[in-house]
Amino acid sequence: MGKIKPPRKNPSLDMTAMCDMAFLLLTFFILTAQFKPETPLEVDAPSSSSNKEETPKVAKIIVDTAGRVFFEIKEANKREEILRNIARHYKIANQLTDEDYKEFAGRQNIGVSIQDLPKVLKNKALSNDAYKKLGVRIGIPMDTTNNQLGLWVLYTNKVYENETFNRRQGFDEKTKAIITKPSPEGLSEAEKKIWEEEQKQMLKIVIFGDQRSQFKVIKRVLEVLQERKVNKVHLVTNLREAPAGAANQQPTQKKN
Protein backbone atom coordinates (compact mmCIF):
# COMPACT_ATOMS: atom_id res chain seq x y z
CA MET A 1 0.00 0.00 0.00
CA GLY A 2 1.35 3.32 -0.98
CA LYS A 3 1.42 6.04 1.60
CA ILE A 4 -0.70 9.11 1.00
CA LYS A 5 1.61 11.97 0.43
CA PRO A 6 0.39 15.37 1.45
CA PRO A 7 0.62 17.72 -1.51
CA ARG A 8 3.72 19.86 -1.38
CA LYS A 9 2.91 23.47 -0.90
CA ASN A 10 5.12 26.38 -1.62
CA PRO A 11 5.73 28.09 1.75
CA SER A 12 6.50 31.47 0.25
CA LEU A 13 4.28 34.39 1.13
CA ASP A 14 3.30 37.23 -1.06
CA MET A 15 5.21 40.11 0.44
CA THR A 16 3.92 42.76 -1.92
CA ALA A 17 1.12 43.96 0.31
CA MET A 18 3.36 44.11 3.33
CA CYS A 19 5.96 45.97 1.35
CA ASP A 20 3.36 48.46 0.18
CA MET A 21 2.24 49.13 3.69
CA ALA A 22 5.77 49.43 5.01
CA PHE A 23 6.66 52.02 2.41
CA LEU A 24 3.45 53.92 3.02
CA LEU A 25 4.33 54.21 6.68
CA LEU A 26 7.89 55.06 5.80
CA THR A 27 6.76 57.91 3.56
CA PHE A 28 4.53 59.20 6.32
CA PHE A 29 7.31 59.21 8.89
CA ILE A 30 9.81 60.79 6.52
CA LEU A 31 7.41 63.59 5.69
CA THR A 32 6.45 64.28 9.28
CA ALA A 33 9.94 63.90 10.72
CA GLN A 34 11.49 66.93 12.30
CA PHE A 35 15.12 66.47 12.91
CA LYS A 36 17.11 67.83 15.71
CA PRO A 37 18.46 71.21 14.74
CA GLU A 38 22.12 71.35 14.07
CA THR A 39 23.85 72.96 16.99
CA PRO A 40 27.52 73.35 17.55
CA LEU A 41 26.71 73.16 21.24
CA GLU A 42 26.05 69.99 23.11
CA VAL A 43 23.24 70.53 25.51
CA ASP A 44 21.81 68.02 27.91
CA ALA A 45 18.55 69.38 29.27
CA PRO A 46 17.50 68.79 32.87
CA SER A 47 14.41 66.70 33.59
CA SER A 48 11.08 67.78 34.94
CA SER A 49 7.62 66.31 35.10
CA SER A 50 6.10 69.03 32.95
CA ASN A 51 4.38 67.49 29.95
CA LYS A 52 3.65 70.66 28.04
CA GLU A 53 4.81 70.50 24.47
CA GLU A 54 6.76 73.07 22.59
CA THR A 55 4.72 75.16 20.14
CA PRO A 56 5.94 76.20 16.68
CA LYS A 57 6.43 79.86 17.54
CA VAL A 58 9.46 79.70 19.70
CA ALA A 59 12.61 81.70 20.20
CA LYS A 60 15.15 79.58 21.98
CA ILE A 61 18.11 80.67 24.02
CA ILE A 62 20.58 77.82 24.17
CA VAL A 63 23.09 77.77 27.00
CA ASP A 64 25.87 75.21 27.18
CA THR A 65 28.00 74.13 30.12
CA ALA A 66 30.70 76.65 29.29
CA GLY A 67 28.13 79.44 29.49
CA ARG A 68 28.09 80.21 25.79
CA VAL A 69 24.78 81.40 24.45
CA PHE A 70 23.09 80.73 21.13
CA PHE A 71 19.85 82.14 19.84
CA GLU A 72 17.43 80.14 17.76
CA ILE A 73 14.36 81.32 15.88
CA LYS A 74 12.29 78.28 15.09
CA GLU A 75 10.19 79.76 12.32
CA ALA A 76 12.32 80.12 9.22
CA ASN A 77 10.13 82.77 7.59
CA LYS A 78 10.67 85.19 10.46
CA ARG A 79 14.45 85.03 10.50
CA GLU A 80 15.09 87.41 7.65
CA GLU A 81 12.89 90.15 9.02
CA ILE A 82 14.50 89.90 12.44
CA LEU A 83 17.99 90.05 10.97
CA ARG A 84 17.04 93.09 8.87
CA ASN A 85 15.97 94.88 12.04
CA ILE A 86 19.16 93.93 13.84
CA ALA A 87 21.33 94.93 10.89
CA ARG A 88 19.67 98.33 10.79
CA HIS A 89 20.25 98.78 14.51
CA TYR A 90 23.94 97.86 14.28
CA LYS A 91 24.46 99.60 10.95
CA ILE A 92 25.83 96.49 9.28
CA ALA A 93 23.08 96.39 6.68
CA ASN A 94 25.51 97.46 3.95
CA GLN A 95 27.68 94.42 4.66
CA LEU A 96 24.85 92.00 4.05
CA THR A 97 23.57 90.97 0.66
CA ASP A 98 20.26 89.33 -0.16
CA GLU A 99 22.13 86.07 -0.42
CA ASP A 100 23.37 86.43 3.14
CA TYR A 101 19.83 86.94 4.33
CA LYS A 102 18.82 83.80 2.53
CA GLU A 103 21.69 81.93 4.12
CA PHE A 104 20.61 83.23 7.49
CA ALA A 105 17.01 82.17 6.93
CA GLY A 106 18.24 78.64 6.33
CA ARG A 107 19.97 78.48 9.67
CA GLN A 108 18.48 77.15 12.84
CA ASN A 109 20.52 79.23 15.19
CA ILE A 110 22.98 82.05 15.61
CA GLY A 111 25.91 81.80 17.92
CA VAL A 112 28.25 84.68 17.15
CA SER A 113 28.30 88.37 17.83
CA ILE A 114 26.52 90.60 15.34
CA GLN A 115 29.81 92.06 14.12
CA ASP A 116 31.02 88.58 13.14
CA LEU A 117 27.77 87.60 11.53
CA PRO A 118 28.51 88.84 7.96
CA LYS A 119 31.78 86.91 7.96
CA VAL A 120 30.12 83.72 9.15
CA LEU A 121 27.26 83.98 6.68
CA LYS A 122 29.52 84.71 3.71
CA ASN A 123 31.74 81.73 4.48
CA LYS A 124 28.75 79.52 5.17
CA ALA A 125 30.49 78.38 8.30
CA LEU A 126 28.41 76.01 10.36
CA SER A 127 30.61 73.86 12.51
CA ASN A 128 32.73 74.70 15.50
CA ASP A 129 35.91 74.16 13.53
CA ALA A 130 34.77 76.50 10.79
CA TYR A 131 34.16 79.19 13.37
CA LYS A 132 37.60 78.67 14.79
CA LYS A 133 39.22 78.96 11.38
CA LEU A 134 37.53 82.30 10.86
CA GLY A 135 38.72 83.45 14.25
CA VAL A 136 35.19 83.97 15.45
CA ARG A 137 34.30 83.70 19.08
CA ILE A 138 31.38 81.40 19.71
CA GLY A 139 28.49 82.70 21.75
CA ILE A 140 26.33 85.78 21.69
CA PRO A 141 27.61 88.50 24.02
CA MET A 142 25.19 89.44 26.76
CA ASP A 143 27.13 91.47 29.30
CA THR A 144 25.77 94.82 30.37
CA THR A 145 27.99 96.85 28.09
CA ASN A 146 27.40 94.78 25.00
CA ASN A 147 24.05 93.14 25.45
CA GLN A 148 23.36 91.67 22.03
CA LEU A 149 21.17 88.87 23.32
CA GLY A 150 18.79 91.50 24.62
CA LEU A 151 18.55 93.00 21.15
CA TRP A 152 17.80 89.67 19.54
CA VAL A 153 15.02 89.20 22.06
CA LEU A 154 13.78 92.74 21.52
CA TYR A 155 13.54 92.47 17.74
CA THR A 156 12.16 88.96 17.77
CA ASN A 157 9.46 90.18 20.11
CA LYS A 158 8.78 93.14 17.86
CA VAL A 159 8.39 91.06 14.72
CA TYR A 160 6.01 88.70 16.49
CA GLU A 161 4.08 91.55 18.05
CA ASN A 162 3.47 92.95 14.59
CA GLU A 163 2.27 89.58 13.45
CA THR A 164 -0.07 89.23 16.42
CA PHE A 165 -1.41 92.72 15.82
CA ASN A 166 -2.13 91.97 12.18
CA ARG A 167 -3.78 88.69 13.00
CA ARG A 168 -6.02 90.22 15.60
CA GLN A 169 -7.23 92.91 13.20
CA GLY A 170 -9.83 90.57 11.81
CA PHE A 171 -11.23 89.49 15.17
CA ASP A 172 -14.45 90.84 16.60
CA GLU A 173 -14.63 92.56 19.97
CA LYS A 174 -15.82 89.50 21.83
CA THR A 175 -12.95 87.30 20.69
CA LYS A 176 -10.49 90.06 21.45
CA ALA A 177 -11.79 90.25 25.01
CA ILE A 178 -11.29 86.51 25.44
CA ILE A 179 -7.78 86.29 24.02
CA THR A 180 -6.37 89.21 25.95
CA LYS A 181 -7.19 87.61 29.30
CA PRO A 182 -4.12 86.65 31.27
CA SER A 183 -5.47 83.23 32.26
CA PRO A 184 -8.35 81.01 31.10
CA GLU A 185 -10.09 81.13 34.47
CA GLY A 186 -13.79 81.82 34.34
CA LEU A 187 -14.11 81.09 30.64
CA SER A 188 -16.54 78.59 29.16
CA GLU A 189 -15.25 75.49 27.37
CA ALA A 190 -15.60 77.00 23.90
CA GLU A 191 -13.97 80.23 24.99
CA LYS A 192 -11.14 78.31 26.62
CA LYS A 193 -10.42 76.66 23.31
CA ILE A 194 -10.16 80.02 21.59
CA TRP A 195 -7.91 81.27 24.34
CA GLU A 196 -5.63 78.24 24.16
CA GLU A 197 -5.48 78.44 20.38
CA GLU A 198 -4.37 82.04 20.63
CA GLN A 199 -1.77 81.15 23.24
CA LYS A 200 -0.24 78.70 20.77
CA GLN A 201 0.11 81.54 18.27
CA MET A 202 2.03 83.71 20.69
CA LEU A 203 5.78 83.85 20.78
CA LYS A 204 7.34 81.83 23.55
CA ILE A 205 10.81 82.55 24.79
CA VAL A 206 12.42 79.30 25.78
CA ILE A 207 15.66 78.66 27.62
CA PHE A 208 17.39 75.46 26.63
CA GLY A 209 20.08 75.12 29.19
CA ASP A 210 22.41 72.29 30.00
CA GLN A 211 21.70 70.85 33.41
CA ARG A 212 25.28 71.48 34.45
CA SER A 213 25.24 75.11 33.33
CA GLN A 214 26.13 77.47 36.10
CA PHE A 215 23.24 79.33 37.62
CA LYS A 216 25.17 82.55 37.11
CA VAL A 217 24.69 82.33 33.36
CA ILE A 218 21.05 81.35 33.60
CA LYS A 219 20.47 84.21 36.00
CA ARG A 220 22.01 86.63 33.54
CA VAL A 221 19.79 85.30 30.74
CA LEU A 222 16.71 85.70 32.93
CA GLU A 223 17.86 89.21 33.78
CA VAL A 224 18.23 90.11 30.12
CA LEU A 225 14.74 88.82 29.48
CA GLN A 226 13.31 90.75 32.41
CA GLU A 227 14.90 93.90 31.08
CA ARG A 228 13.03 93.26 27.84
CA LYS A 229 9.82 92.73 29.81
CA VAL A 230 9.71 89.04 29.10
CA ASN A 231 8.55 87.71 32.44
CA LYS A 232 7.02 84.50 31.21
CA VAL A 233 9.81 82.14 30.33
CA HIS A 234 9.81 78.48 29.41
CA LEU A 235 12.54 75.98 30.12
CA VAL A 236 13.21 72.99 27.93
CA THR A 237 13.23 69.83 30.00
CA ASN A 238 13.28 66.12 29.42
CA LEU A 239 10.17 64.41 30.59
CA ARG A 240 10.38 62.32 33.71
CA GLU A 241 7.43 60.62 35.24
CA ALA A 242 5.44 62.65 37.69
CA PRO A 243 4.46 61.03 40.97
CA ALA A 244 0.82 60.13 41.53
CA GLY A 245 -1.36 63.05 42.49
CA ALA A 246 0.99 65.71 41.19
CA ALA A 247 -0.67 69.08 40.91
CA ASN A 248 0.81 69.99 37.55
CA GLN A 249 -0.61 67.13 35.52
CA GLN A 250 -3.32 68.04 33.06
CA PRO A 251 -6.15 65.55 33.72
CA THR A 252 -6.29 65.89 37.48
CA GLN A 253 -5.51 69.54 37.80
CA LYS A 254 -6.19 70.77 41.28
CA LYS A 255 -6.14 74.23 42.67
CA ASN A 256 -4.81 75.06 46.04
Partner: protein, 183 residues
Amino acid sequence: MADIDTSQGGGKDGKKKGPKKVSTKVDMTPMVDLAFLLITFFMLTTTFNTPKIMQVIMPDKTEKDPAKRDQAKGDCSIIILGDKDNKLYWYQVIKGQTPQLQEIEYSSEKIRDFLTQKKKEIKAKGDCPQMIVVIKFKDDARFKNMVDVLDEMAIVGVSRYGIQDIEPNDLKLIEEYKKQAKR
Protein backbone atom coordinates in the same frame (compact mmCIF):
# COMPACT_ATOMS: atom_id res chain seq x y z
CA MET B 1 15.03 33.18 0.32
CA ALA B 2 11.43 32.79 1.34
CA ASP B 3 10.76 30.87 -1.84
CA ILE B 4 11.62 27.23 -1.76
CA ASP B 5 11.91 25.50 -5.03
CA THR B 6 9.51 22.58 -4.92
CA SER B 7 9.26 21.87 -8.63
CA GLN B 8 10.12 18.32 -9.57
CA GLY B 9 13.20 19.18 -11.65
CA GLY B 10 11.88 19.06 -15.20
CA GLY B 11 13.67 17.23 -18.02
CA LYS B 12 14.67 14.22 -15.93
CA ASP B 13 13.15 11.69 -18.19
CA GLY B 14 14.81 13.07 -21.30
CA LYS B 15 11.80 14.82 -22.74
CA LYS B 16 12.48 18.26 -24.13
CA LYS B 17 10.17 20.91 -22.79
CA GLY B 18 11.29 23.98 -24.67
CA PRO B 19 12.86 27.07 -23.05
CA LYS B 20 12.99 26.98 -19.27
CA LYS B 21 10.31 29.12 -17.63
CA VAL B 22 11.68 31.80 -15.36
CA SER B 23 9.54 32.87 -12.47
CA THR B 24 8.53 36.54 -12.58
CA LYS B 25 8.19 36.65 -8.81
CA VAL B 26 10.64 38.86 -7.03
CA ASP B 27 11.56 38.09 -3.50
CA MET B 28 10.31 41.06 -1.49
CA THR B 29 11.63 39.99 1.88
CA PRO B 30 14.84 42.06 1.96
CA MET B 31 12.92 45.07 0.72
CA VAL B 32 10.38 44.71 3.50
CA ASP B 33 13.19 44.26 6.00
CA LEU B 34 14.76 47.48 4.85
CA ALA B 35 11.48 49.34 4.88
CA PHE B 36 10.75 48.31 8.44
CA LEU B 37 14.23 49.21 9.55
CA LEU B 38 13.78 52.69 8.16
CA ILE B 39 10.31 52.98 9.69
CA THR B 40 11.73 52.13 13.08
CA PHE B 41 14.42 54.72 12.65
CA PHE B 42 12.04 57.48 11.65
CA MET B 43 9.54 56.57 14.33
CA LEU B 44 12.16 56.78 17.02
CA THR B 45 13.63 60.03 15.81
CA THR B 46 10.29 61.80 15.44
CA THR B 47 8.25 60.84 18.46
CA PHE B 48 10.98 61.40 20.99
CA ASN B 49 11.89 64.71 19.57
CA THR B 50 9.04 66.98 20.61
CA PRO B 51 10.70 68.95 23.37
CA LYS B 52 8.79 69.44 26.58
CA ILE B 53 8.71 72.83 28.17
CA MET B 54 8.07 74.10 31.63
CA GLN B 55 6.75 77.53 32.38
CA VAL B 56 8.39 79.91 34.81
CA ILE B 57 7.03 83.30 35.67
CA MET B 58 9.56 85.86 36.79
CA PRO B 59 8.77 88.93 38.86
CA ASP B 60 8.23 92.14 36.96
CA LYS B 61 11.38 94.19 37.34
CA THR B 62 9.62 97.40 36.49
CA GLU B 63 7.27 96.95 39.44
CA LYS B 64 8.03 99.94 41.63
CA ASP B 65 5.36 99.42 44.23
CA PRO B 66 7.21 98.18 47.34
CA ALA B 67 4.01 96.85 48.88
CA LYS B 68 3.76 94.31 46.10
CA ARG B 69 7.43 93.41 46.14
CA ASP B 70 7.85 92.83 49.83
CA GLN B 71 4.95 90.48 50.22
CA ALA B 72 7.33 87.62 50.38
CA LYS B 73 8.68 88.57 53.78
CA GLY B 74 7.10 87.43 57.00
CA ASP B 75 5.98 84.09 58.27
CA CYS B 76 3.79 83.24 55.30
CA SER B 77 6.85 82.60 53.28
CA ILE B 78 9.88 80.39 53.30
CA ILE B 79 13.16 81.05 51.64
CA ILE B 80 15.07 78.30 49.89
CA LEU B 81 18.76 78.74 49.22
CA GLY B 82 20.68 76.67 46.73
CA ASP B 83 24.40 76.18 47.00
CA LYS B 84 26.90 74.34 44.81
CA ASP B 85 27.23 70.55 45.02
CA ASN B 86 23.45 70.11 45.15
CA LYS B 87 23.01 71.62 48.58
CA LEU B 88 19.69 73.12 49.59
CA TYR B 89 18.88 75.12 52.69
CA TRP B 90 15.80 76.87 53.91
CA TYR B 91 14.84 79.45 56.50
CA GLN B 92 11.99 81.66 57.52
CA VAL B 93 12.04 85.31 58.38
CA ILE B 94 10.21 85.87 61.65
CA LYS B 95 10.27 89.22 63.35
CA GLY B 96 12.59 89.45 66.33
CA GLN B 97 14.35 86.17 65.64
CA THR B 98 17.60 85.41 63.93
CA PRO B 99 16.88 83.20 60.95
CA GLN B 100 17.76 79.55 61.45
CA LEU B 101 19.17 77.84 58.42
CA GLN B 102 18.33 74.19 57.93
CA GLU B 103 19.43 71.81 55.27
CA ILE B 104 17.09 69.96 52.93
CA GLU B 105 18.38 66.66 51.69
CA TYR B 106 18.74 66.80 47.93
CA SER B 107 16.38 64.32 46.36
CA SER B 108 13.06 64.77 44.61
CA GLU B 109 11.17 62.96 47.35
CA LYS B 110 12.77 64.90 50.18
CA ILE B 111 12.15 68.28 48.53
CA ARG B 112 8.58 67.28 47.77
CA ASP B 113 7.92 66.09 51.32
CA PHE B 114 9.42 69.26 52.69
CA LEU B 115 7.25 71.49 50.53
CA THR B 116 4.08 69.52 51.23
CA GLN B 117 4.70 69.66 54.96
CA LYS B 118 5.47 73.38 54.97
CA LYS B 119 2.43 74.09 52.86
CA LYS B 120 0.24 72.31 55.38
CA GLU B 121 1.87 74.01 58.36
CA ILE B 122 1.50 77.47 56.90
CA LYS B 123 -2.07 76.87 55.88
CA ALA B 124 -2.88 75.58 59.35
CA LYS B 125 -1.76 78.88 60.85
CA GLY B 126 -4.75 80.50 59.24
CA ASP B 127 -3.46 84.00 58.71
CA CYS B 128 -1.87 83.20 55.39
CA PRO B 129 -3.87 82.61 52.22
CA GLN B 130 -1.08 80.52 50.71
CA MET B 131 2.55 79.75 51.11
CA ILE B 132 5.02 81.92 49.27
CA VAL B 133 8.37 80.46 48.40
CA VAL B 134 11.37 82.56 47.55
CA ILE B 135 14.12 80.73 45.75
CA LYS B 136 17.65 82.01 45.65
CA PHE B 137 20.61 80.30 44.13
CA LYS B 138 24.27 80.99 44.50
CA ASP B 139 26.12 81.70 41.27
CA ASP B 140 27.88 78.35 41.32
CA ALA B 141 24.71 76.32 41.70
CA ARG B 142 23.65 74.39 38.63
CA PHE B 143 20.76 74.91 36.28
CA LYS B 144 19.59 71.43 37.21
CA ASN B 145 19.07 72.52 40.82
CA MET B 146 16.78 75.31 39.75
CA VAL B 147 14.71 73.07 37.49
CA ASP B 148 14.47 70.37 40.16
CA VAL B 149 13.18 72.79 42.77
CA LEU B 150 10.74 74.43 40.35
CA ASP B 151 9.51 71.03 39.27
CA GLU B 152 8.79 69.98 42.83
CA MET B 153 6.93 73.25 43.34
CA ALA B 154 4.76 72.45 40.35
CA ILE B 155 4.16 68.92 41.62
CA VAL B 156 3.20 70.04 45.10
CA GLY B 157 1.16 72.89 43.66
CA VAL B 158 2.90 75.92 45.12
CA SER B 159 1.73 78.61 42.76
CA ARG B 160 3.30 81.59 44.45
CA TYR B 161 7.00 81.60 44.19
CA GLY B 162 9.73 83.85 43.00
CA ILE B 163 13.32 83.53 41.92
CA GLN B 164 15.42 86.25 43.43
CA ASP B 165 19.03 87.29 43.56
CA ILE B 166 20.93 86.00 46.53
CA GLU B 167 21.83 88.63 49.12
CA PRO B 168 25.01 88.97 51.17
CA ASN B 169 22.99 88.04 54.25
CA ASP B 170 22.07 84.72 52.74
CA LEU B 171 25.66 83.99 51.82
CA LYS B 172 26.66 84.69 55.41
CA LEU B 173 24.01 82.31 56.69
CA ILE B 174 25.28 79.55 54.44
CA GLU B 175 28.87 80.13 55.55
CA GLU B 176 27.88 79.99 59.20
CA TYR B 177 25.89 76.84 58.66
CA LYS B 178 28.82 75.15 56.98
CA LYS B 179 31.15 76.13 59.81
CA GLN B 180 28.79 74.69 62.39
CA ALA B 181 28.36 71.51 60.44
CA LYS B 182 32.12 71.00 60.41
CA ARG B 183 32.38 71.17 64.13
